[in-house]
């Protein structure tokens, strides 16, 4: 009886092992935290009413260059509502079709691409988020890793020029808030 149980357990274990091989790796915590931040930011930002066609139209977030992040964000916003609006996530591999987006997150440090996006959206009411570690040109919000934690800096003047209003709580959690160039 004992032997039987042992053999069965071993078989079951083996089966579990094999069936579990097909599942993908976990999303890195950093990507998950950033995705959660992207969603949270939306709760502390007021867009001019004109950017939404009507009261029901969704809030659109575009993720450029990071499918995993887009997928993660999709999960985060699933059945969540920001200021009465559903949230939609779009994933792009290049800068195109950004019309109608309310948040644009550019992953990675492709300077040309970041430059292109920021130039395109200059003074438009679109929240730009980047993760540039050593460059001058960053989005209105820029992620930085400090002491193993995801923090963010805010370029308040960019946001204000574009007509976005940033909540006090958002500003208070930011690592650094710049108010001029």
């Amino acid at each position: 009886m004992k032997r039987y149980t042992a053999v069965t357990s071993a078989k079951v274990l083996l089966l579990c092992f094999i069936c579990s091989l097909s599942w993908s790796q976990e999303v890195a915590t950093e990507a998950r935290v950033k995705a959660a931040f992207l969603y949270k930011f939306c709760n502390y930002i007021r867009w001019p009413v004109t950017v939404f066609p009507d009261a029901q139209s969704p809030l659109k977030i575009a993720v450029i260059n990071d499918d995993v992040m887009a997928h993660e964000l999709q999960h985060v916003v699933y059945d969540r509502i920001v200021a009465g609006r559903n949230v939609e996530v779009y994933s792009f591999s290049s800068v195109s079709e950004l019309e109608g987006m309310h948040v644009i997150y550019v992953a990675g440090e492709k300077f040309m691409q970041v430059h292109q996006v920021l130039t395109l959206l200059l003074e438009k009411p679109v929240l730009t988020v980047t993760e540039i570690t050593n460059g001058k040109r960053v989005g209105m919000i820029n992620f930085v890793i400090e002491n193993d934690r995801v923090r963010f800096d805010i370029e308040k003047h960019y946001a204000e020029k574009s007509g976005l209003k940033l909540g006090a709580q958002l500003l208070s959690v930011a690592r650094k808030v710049s108010t001029s160039d």
């Binding site: 079951v12 993660e72 400090e146 002491n147 934690r149």
Partner: protein
């Protein structure tokens, strides 16, 4: 290590475990197929955390492969830095009162009885307590001298309190729970901080300074002094147990590429007043080195080593000097996409020397103890929603030989808001000096004559938990059932004296539940409830002197409510109400305590706070035998904190 011996010793346990395990696994296999095509994240959503909480998640922590706590399938409660600050507490035991899954009772001015899931006493012995990875329970009695374990509370990152066994990762003695105190890295405590306060029961002053140390390193140094007024008995008599303590320490964190190095140390000295001339003295120092390297996204290695010295002199009763050394190696990697494996080994040594007195003796008076152990844990992702964790620790100690502590844990992430989990574990409380080498009086003829042959106490624990995390509400519930065997008893021997033995069995069951409700951005309510029952049975061979009643003195329930309200941007009001049910033996009446703290951020860098404890209650006892026991009094405390 004697692995064959282990097999034999645990024969009956082993075969039974395999059956349970087999059953559990086959259930999994059946259900995982049908879930395979559904897409859902295998974890809780971080989006329910606040901006501050998100900004405080460590994203590259490798050492103990910290998973996100909200996702871990255990009964875990976390006290954050902000909770500590808002509680107004000035010592670790007072901070721990916030945890709904801990029982905390003040015994006198410097002693506390702290335990999880019952078995509480001033020498309770089934908790693992770690400060930055350093074990602080003493091999003298497997419990903690709380008066010797302080930290700079302002530098604590968080305190994780796990109720239930967690021996594989945290080590033996984690039978009923783990208290894991984690301080901030030096880079997170830059600048100066001074906090000071005084009230009718205590006075404290603490200072810290942190700065950069070259390009990649940071350091901090701190010092704190505390003074406690003597406690009072019910009749108003002074217990003459006032004490004060001075502690200082440092921490350096160095980071270069994938390497993290952490060096820290503390030294302290305390003095406790006595009714007789003289005083009790405590002193100690420790040094800890922790190195970790990330080898990839899911791979890392960590080594910790520490040295710890403590001494305690109770004139006329006993004096102890203890030196402990420990080295610990951990490695984690992902051999296959669905397997997250962690394994490690550690070695620990303790050398003590005890000055025995006519009152009591530990024989031999000097002893070298060593422990070595090996552990492995595999987290198997059975599907997007199911995570099976299998782990085990094998530990060898000088008293009971080799012990085996396995556990199986299954987590079902129903959706990104709900987690249902279950666990089966075996935990072991290995013998300590007091179980085997304790003699009283200190000279022959002895009344209590050691416990030669004292075996480990064991627990077989079953847990079922559920956790839900919604936009504004987070809550968790855990039901536990535990069977204990070989608990300590005092048995008469043929010489007309007594020896310590393992004559008691017990069953403990209960429910732990807590939750928080964020009513608005400025107001949060927290609640916690513990309902439990412990039953003990003497074995037929036992004639226990204490009639099986010495293992713990526990309330059948306790609850607490905590309101955290930001009245304005610069003002906070915190109110806590907690009730602890009556203790049976020795009898302690139930009590309700109301604590409140109001804080005002006067300037950007200065906060003033007024804390009141036991506001509506002149005094109440929390532990011990009437009429000589201490009663906890109403107290008021005014504090100021300057932070650069």
């Amino acid at each position: 290590m004697d692995f064959l011996g282990l097999h034999q010793a645990n024969h009956s346990f082993y075969s039974r475990r395999q059956t349970i395990l087999g059953y559990l696994l086959s259930m999994l296999l059946v259900s995982s197929g049908s879930l395979a095509d559904e897409v859902a994240p295998p974890h809780f959503s971080l989006a329910d955390l606040s901006l501050e909480q998100l900004a405080n998640i460590e994203v590259t922590s490798v050492a103990r492969k910290n998973a996100l706590l909200s996702e871990s399938p255990t009964s875990i409660f976390v006290i954050t830095q902000s909770d500590i600050r808002r509680s107004g507490a000035n010592s670790l035991p007072e901070v721990l009162r916030m945890a709904p899954n801990l029982q905390v009772a003040q015994v006198d001015a410097y002693r506390y009885a702290i335990s999880a899931r019952g078995f509480n006493g001033s020498v309770s012995n089934k908790l693992q307590v770690l400060i930055d990875g350093r074990m602080v329970y003493t091999p003298l009695f497997s419990g903690v001298f709380w008066d010797a374990q302080e930290v700079m509370l302002e530098d604590v990152e968080r305190i994780e309190i796990i109720s239930g066994p967690a021996a594989a990762i945290w080590g033996a003695n984690a039978v009923n729970g783990v208290i894991n105190i984690i301080t901030r890295s030096a880079g997170n405590t830059a600048g100066g901080l001074i906090s000071a306060g005084a009230g009718n029961m205590e006075a404290n002053v603490a200072a810290r300074y942190g700065n950069k140390l070259g390009e990649n390193a940071d350091y901090r140094i701190y010092a704190k002094f505390l003074n406690r007024q003597p406690s009072e008995r019910a009749d108003g008599g002074d217990q003459e147990d006032g004490w004060d303590s001075l502690q200082t320490g440092f921490r350096i964190d160095w980071q270069s590429g994938a390497d993290n190095l952490q060096l820290q140390g503390d030294a302290y000295s305390g003095e406790i007043e006595l009714p007789a001339p003289g005083h009790r003295e405590t002193a100690g120092a420790n040094l800890l080195l922790h190195w970790r390297r990330e080898l990839g996204v899911n791979e890392g290695v960590a080594v910790s080593a520490y040295y710890d010295y403590t001494s305690r002199d109770y004139p006329g009763i006993f004096a102890e000097h203890l030196r402990s050394y420990s080295i610990d190696f951990r490695y984690h990697f992902q051999p296959l996409p669905a397997h997250s494996v962690q394994w490690g080994m550690d070695y620990r040594e303790a050398k003590d020397s005890i000055n025995n007195t006519p009152v009591l003796a530990f024989l031999p008076a000097t002893k070298n103890l060593s422990w070595y152990s090996l552990f492995v844990q595999d987290e198997i992702k059975l599907s997007e929603k199911l995570l099976l964790t299998l782990d085990a620790r094998v530990e060898r100690n000088d008293y009971s030989g080799t012990e085996f502590m396995p556990a199986a844990r299954l987590a079902w992430y129903i959706d990104n808001k709900q987690l249902l989990w279950g666990a089966v574990s075996r935990a072991v409380r290995t013998p300590s000096r007091i179980d085997s080498d304790f003699y009283s009086p200190g000279l022959e003829p002895y009344l209590i004559a050691g416990g030669d042959g004292f075996e480990s106490e064991t627990a077989q624990v079953y847990e079922l938990g559920y956790r839900q995390s919604l936009q504004a509400v987070n809550w968790s519930i855990t039901a536990f059932y535990a069977e204990y065997d070989d608990l300590r008893t005092v048995e008469p021997n043929s010489m007309g004296a007594f020896t310590l033995a393992n004559g008691l069995t017990g069953v403990s069951q209960g429910i732990e539940t807590w939750g928080s409700w964020r009513l608005s951005d400025s107001w949060q309510l927290n609640a916690g409830l513990l309902i439990q029952q412990q039953r003990f049975n003497l074995k037929s061979s036992s004639a226990d002197l204490n009639n099986g009643e010495s293992e713990g003195n526990d309330p059948s329930h306790q609850w607490k409510l905590r309101s955290q309200w930001d009245i304005a941007d610069d003002k906070q009001l915190d109110i806590t109400v907690r009730r602890v049910g009556a203790l049976p033996q020795p009898e302690v009446p139930a009590y309700v305590a109301v604590d409140a703290r109001i804080a005002w951020q006067w300037r950007r860098d200065i906060e003033l706070a007024l804390t009141g404890r036991n506001l509506f209650d002149g005094q109440h006892p929390e532990f011990g035998t009437s009429p000589l026991r201490t009663e906890v009094e109403r107290s008021v405390y005014l504090s100021i904190r300057w932070q650069q």
